[in-house]
Structures are given as structure tokens and as C-alpha cells.
């Protein structure tokens, strides 16, 4: 659902607008709506999620109705319609990964982070969720972290612990 309560006003930077322009140039004249999915990825990479205001501004930029952006943002699962943890751990939950222990990994992440699927840790650093097949079935269990969608393969409880520690240190250094 679109989040009205948590709306976040945004102002796209000149650099971001330049990237939008490069994308629009890939399509024939009057087909600028094709740029919608790639532009939403850029907006999400910048702000961490898609606020209503950000979507309205994308609509204005592409000269389309706001509803055309909402219907796309609500259809595709990669777009976040509310804020997430700084690091969103997305674990594959589909058959082939479950054959090699994905369910245990998800349980371990839940225990380790102390939050349920979809919730954010108190320090705002982490959230996690199960996602459908990520086309990496031979390297399972796998998880990905946006916005670069870095892959972590052949997960074990130990490697997950190490990953969480590394990310926590990284966040500390950035702070």
C-alpha cells in the first residue's frame, strides 16, 4: 500500500535528473514512460524507498499520471513503499534454495536480528524478508542486498553472522 503517513518530500538533485535524462533518451519519441522502472530504481537507490511525493515527482517528470507510477510501484516487488532498514537482507525462499537449507537461514536471521520479517531493527540498520527465486539456485542459500544487489551465496549461519557484523562495522564507520 502507498504510505501517506510516512510521506517524505524529496527534491531530485541535478545529478539524478541527468541520469533520468540519459535513460529517457534510450526510447523513441513519446515513449518516455518506458523509463519508469529504471527511474524508480534510481529513486529508491537515492532515498531507500519510494515515498508518494517521490512518485508524484517522477510522474511529473515523465509527463504521466501519478496513478501510472503507483500501479507500477505496487506491482513489482523490488520497490519499497515504506522505509526499510539501511541494509535490507532479501533471502531466497523458493524451492531449490529450501532444498539446501534456506528456511534455517531465515530463522537464523530472525533470531540474530531479533526482528520479524518486514520489521526494522531498533538501530535502523537492518530489515529482512524472504523473496522469490533469484536465479541463483546452484549457489543456495542466497541473499541479496540493494541498491547494488550484491549477492551472498552458499550461506551458512556462520557466514550470515559475519556478514551482519561486517555491515554493522561499515555503518559505524560511515556514521
Amino acid at each position: 500500500m502507498l504510505s501517506i503517513q510516512e510521506n517524505q518530500p524529496v527534491e531530485f538533485s541535478a545529478a539524478l535528473l541527468e541520469q533520468f535524462g540519459e535513460i529517457v533518451a534510450r526510447y523513441p519519441e513519446n515513449q518516455q514512460k518506458s523509463a519508469l522502472l529504471p527511474i524508480l530504481h534510481l529513486v529508491q537507490a537515492e532515498y531507500g524507498w519510494l515515498s508518494t511525493d517521490s512518485m508524484d515527482k517522477v510522474a511529473a517528470y515523465l509527463h504521466i499520471q501519478a496513478i501510472e507510477v503507483y500501479e507500477v510501484a505496487t506491482f513489482y516487488t523490488m520497490y519499497f513503499l515504506k522505509p526499510q532498514g539501511k541494509y535490507m537482507l532479501e533471502v531466497c525462499r523458493t524451492g531449490p534454495c529450501c532444498l539446501v537449507g534456506a528456511e534455517k537461514i531465515m530463522q537464523h536471521i530472525e533470531n540474530r536480528l531479533g526482528v520479524k520479517e518486514g520489521e526494522i531493527t531498533a538501530d535502523g540498520l537492518f530489515s529482512w524478508r524472504g523473496v522469490e527465486c533469484m536465479a541463483a539456485c546452484g549457489y543456495g542459500p542466497v541473499l541479496q542486498i540493494g541498491p547494488e544487489y550484491t549477492f551472498y551465496e552458499n550461506l551458512t549461519e556462520k557466514s550470515v553472522d559475519e556478514l551482519i557484523d561486517t555491515l554493522r562495522d561499515k555503518a559505524k564507520q560511515q556514521a
Partner: protein, 451 residues
């Protein structure tokens, strides 16, 4: 050791770069096609090769190309389907990651054959690293004059762009993919009109899988007839198989079509047998949508013939005792896996991924998921198994796109071959929560793990 056409140079250091790819003979097909062949010649070679669509449907690529409408003054498009989302399938990710120029070269030759001056590679959004790899490869190729305006001085212009998806299995269906590329929800279109007549932006369009397009390169280099010499019957050439689940060596293998399934599973050249010394219970040979086979129907068909990795042999026996080549997503189940749980998992996937346009799929996948959840969690009845059968039958064939069928087939096959396991869950609700059913009684003979 079979011939490798796509992955021949995969272990060459730096093969991801233009320079090394070119040194290894890359872009010869572009030179040959653009300089010495007409677009129709290229289509003819692909027809001769017998290449069948590697995304899952197995439709002859050359024939698909020959259907492309060519009205005057209307642009034509080639769109590459890199939305790889069929559970069990990870071959296109592998190809795009490790040898991206094979796809770019195939795109140039194929676009030339179809008369497209702008082509798109639609890659699922989660593959952001692969999108960057492809964009870099395109930039390198352009800098070398093999892409862009007036390629190799032939007067042929081509631009290739990479488009990210947004995380939706349905966009692997070609008309949903085109909707998505137009910036819309991935709702499949009603056919006809087919994309060959009215595809992207209403223009004639061909949509081909990553591996199909990459396969055009060796076809042009060696000729369609040479390509067709590899393989058996109408299963020509090589195919990438992505093997996962409980095998010793999961990964992507390029096989000559015709390798026996048993060899593929147990030979050290491929999967190396079942992991952890377990026994084989079941196989999903071509991605989660194809019918699951119990152990006794994997190595041999119902008539006792060796089952081969070909479109025909995998389908031998129809859905009663056979399966499909599909996308080459090869998922192996060991004796500890629960068929009911896996069927529930797959069905949850299809319910999650249904676009919601057609009631039988939108509602039916949800009902099946709920009923399977009940059975898996020891709350089911025998009537529920019959109910499942009834629902899947009412989904199959009654939807705009094949997602409905893809959701129905795994449920039908699981009940057809493993009904005893479903009944055991119903009749032993407590026991089924604490242990797995194990091997089905008829899943024999089972080859022991090679020592």
C-alpha cells in the same frame, strides 16, 4: 567430453572483456553476417540449425524470426528476454556474468537479421551487477566500432540498451515483458496479435531468450548445418543446464543435447551424483513448472529406454510418465525431501507471482497454496487431495498466459506420482510433522552413489 559452443572460452582469464573475447575469435559472426550475408541468409542459417527457444517453450527460433511482419516505414525490434526467473534456472545469469560479449555479439547478428536498429536486453532488476556488466560490454563494443552507427562501414546502425525489470516472474512471459518495457505492470497481453505483428510500441517485435540469442553466434560461425549435426532428432545443438538442489556439484553445464539423464546426474563431468551420500528421490528437469518425476522414471522412460537430455526424450510418455526440457533448470531431490512441502513452496511462488488478470490463476493458485499448507501441516483430509486435483484441472488452459499452466502442472504431477505421500500426511498428521516420508515405495531401482 561434449563440444562447447557457448562456454568454450569460459575459463579464459579476462574473457569478460572485449579484447580477450575478440582475441578468442569473438565478433567473427558479426563480421561474417554483416559483410557477406543478407539478413534473410542469417534467418535461413538459424532455420537450418534447428535451434529451439532456450527460454522454456522450445519453439524453433528461425521460424519465430520468419513470422516477423515487415511493413514499410515501421521500426522493428529485437528484445532479449533476460528476466530469468523460473525456479531452478540460473544459466542466463551465468552467461551474462562470465561471457557477456557472447550475448552482445548474438544481439548484433540477430538484430541485423531482423532489421532492427534499436534492441533492448530486458534483465530482471535483481541482476543489477549483470546489468552493469552488460552496459560495460556494450560500451566496449561501441568503442570498437562494432555497434552504433555504420557498423564496420556496412551502413547498418544499431543501438542496444539494457532495461531492468522490477522483480516479477510474470515478465518472463514475452507479452508481459513488453508491457513492462513500456513502463507498465507486467500483465500479459491477449494473443493474437502476436508480438511478431504488434509487439513493443505496437511494432513488429521478436522476443528471444539470452541463451537462444547467444547460440546464434556459433550457428553463423560454423553454419546452421554444422550446428544441427550436434544433438539428436529435433533437439539440435548444445544447451545450458543449470543443476541445483541436492547434487554434489551444482552449477551450469553446457551439454550436447542427447546426454543420458543418468549420466548427467551421476557423472563427475556433470553433477557428480547426489550430495552427502543420499539417494535420489525425484527430479524437476526443466524449471519448477515442468512435471516432477519420481526416481523410477528418471533414468528410463516407461518403456525402459534410456531417458536422454533431449526435448523429445524428456517428454516421452507425455505428462503421465514424462516431463519437459523447459528452461534447463534441473532440480534434484534427495530422499530426505518432502514432496508435499516442495509442492506447497512452488505453489506459494505461483500465487505470489500471478499477475491477477485471470480469475482461475489469481484465485486458484491461492486456493492450492492454502490446501497444500493444510496438508503439509497435518491438517488436511483425503478430500483435500481430490480438491487440489480439481483446482489444478480448472486452472490449466483457462488463462491468458502460461503461468496458470505452470502453476497447475507441478501440483498435478506431484499428486500423480506421489499421492501416497500426500495421503500419508493426511493419515499420520502428527508423524508427518516430525519426520519425512522418505522414498516412495515404487521409487526403485535407485542407483547407489558412485563410490
Amino acid at each position: 567430453m561434449g563440444r562447447k559452443l557457448l562456454l568454450e572460452h569460459i575459463n579464459e582469464p579476462g574473457i569478460q572483456t572485449f579484447d580477450v573475447y575478440r582475441q578468442k575469435g569473438g565478433y567473427r559472426a558479426v563480421e561474417k553476417a554483416l559483410k557477406s550475408m543478407s539478413p534473410d541468409d542469417v534467418v535461413e542459417e538459424v532455420k537450418k540449425s534447428g535451434l529451439r527457444g532456450r527460454g522454456g517453450a522450445g519453439f524453433p527460433t528461425g521460424m519465430k524470426w520468419s513470422f516477423l511482419a515487415k511493413p514499410e516505414g515501421v521500426p522493428r525490434y529485437l528484445v532479449c528476454n533476460g528476466d530469468e526467473s523460473e525456479p531452478g534456472t540460473f544459466k542466463d545469469r551465468y552467461l551474462m556474468t562470465h561471457i557477456p560479449h557472447a550475448l552482445i555479439e548474438g544481439m548484433i547478428v540477430s538484430s541485423y537479421a531482423l532489421g532492427a536498429n534499436t534492441s533492448y536486453i530486458y534483465v530482471r532488476g535483481e541482476m543489477m551487477p549483470q546489468i552493469r556488466i552488460l552496459e560495460r560490454a556494450i560500451a566496449e563494443t561501441k568503442a570498437a566500432g562494432l555497434l552504433g552507427k555504420n557498423i564496420l562501414g556496412t551502413g547498418y546502425d544499431l543501438e542496444i540498451y539494457v532495461q531492468p525489470g522490477g522483480g516479477a516472474y510474470i515478465c518472463g512471459e514475452e507479452t508481459a515483458l513488453l508491457e513492462s518495457l513500456e513502463g507498465k505492470r507486467g500483465n500479459p497481453r491477449i494473443k493474437p496479435p502476436f508480438p511478431a505483428v504488434a509487439g513493443l510500441y505496437g511494432c513488429p517485435t521478436v522476443v528471444n531468450n539470452v541463451e537462444s540469442i547467444a547460440s546464434v553466434v556459433p550457428i553463423i560461425n560454423d553454419g546452421g548445418e554444422e550446428y544441427a549435426k550436434i544433438g539428436i532428432e529435433r533437439s539440435t545443438g548444445t544447451k545450458l543446464i543449470s543443476a541445483g538442489g541436492n547434487v554434489k556439484n551444482p552449477g551450469v553445464y553446457e551439454i550436447e543435447l542427447g546426454v543420458p539423464v543418468e549420466e548427467f546426474i551421476y557423472s563427475d563431468e556433470y553433477c557428480g551424483g547426489i550430495a552427502n551420500g543420499k539417494r535420489l528421490k525425484a527430479l524437476v528437469a526443466g524449471g519448477s513448472s515442468v512435471p516432477i518425476l519420481p526416481a523410477n522414471l528418471i533414468s528410463k522412460t516407461i518403456n525402459g529406454d534410456a531417458r536422454l537430455m533431449t526435448y523429445e526424450s524428456l517428454a516421452d510418455g507425455g505428462f503421465q510418465t514424462g516431463t519437459m526440457m523447459g528452461s534447463g533448470g534441473f532440480i534434484v531431490f534427495d530422499e530426505d525431501q518432502c514432496i508435499v512441502r516442495n509442492t506447497w513452496n512452488f505453489t506459494r511462488f505461483y500465487h505470489h507471482e500471478s499477475c491477477g488478470q485471470c480469475s482461475p490463476c489469481r484465485e486458484g493458485t491461492g486456493w492450492m497454496e492454502k490446501v497444500l499448507y493444510k496438508i503439509e501441516h497435518g491438517q488436511g483430509s483425503i478430500a483435500d487431495i481430490d480438491l487440489l486435483w480439481d483446482i489444478q484441472r480448472k486452472i490449466e488452459g483457462n488463462t491468458i498466459c502460461p503461468l496458470g499452466d505452470a502453476a497447475a502442472w507441478p501440483v498435478a504431477a506431484a499428486i500423480r506420482h506421489f499421492r501416497d505421500e500426500f495421503e500419508w500426511h493426511v493419515l499420520h498428521p502428527e508423524e508427518s510433522q516430525s519426520r519425512n516420508y522418505g522414498l516412495a515405495h515404487y521409487a526403485d531401482p535407485i542407483k547407489p552413489v558412485a563410490q
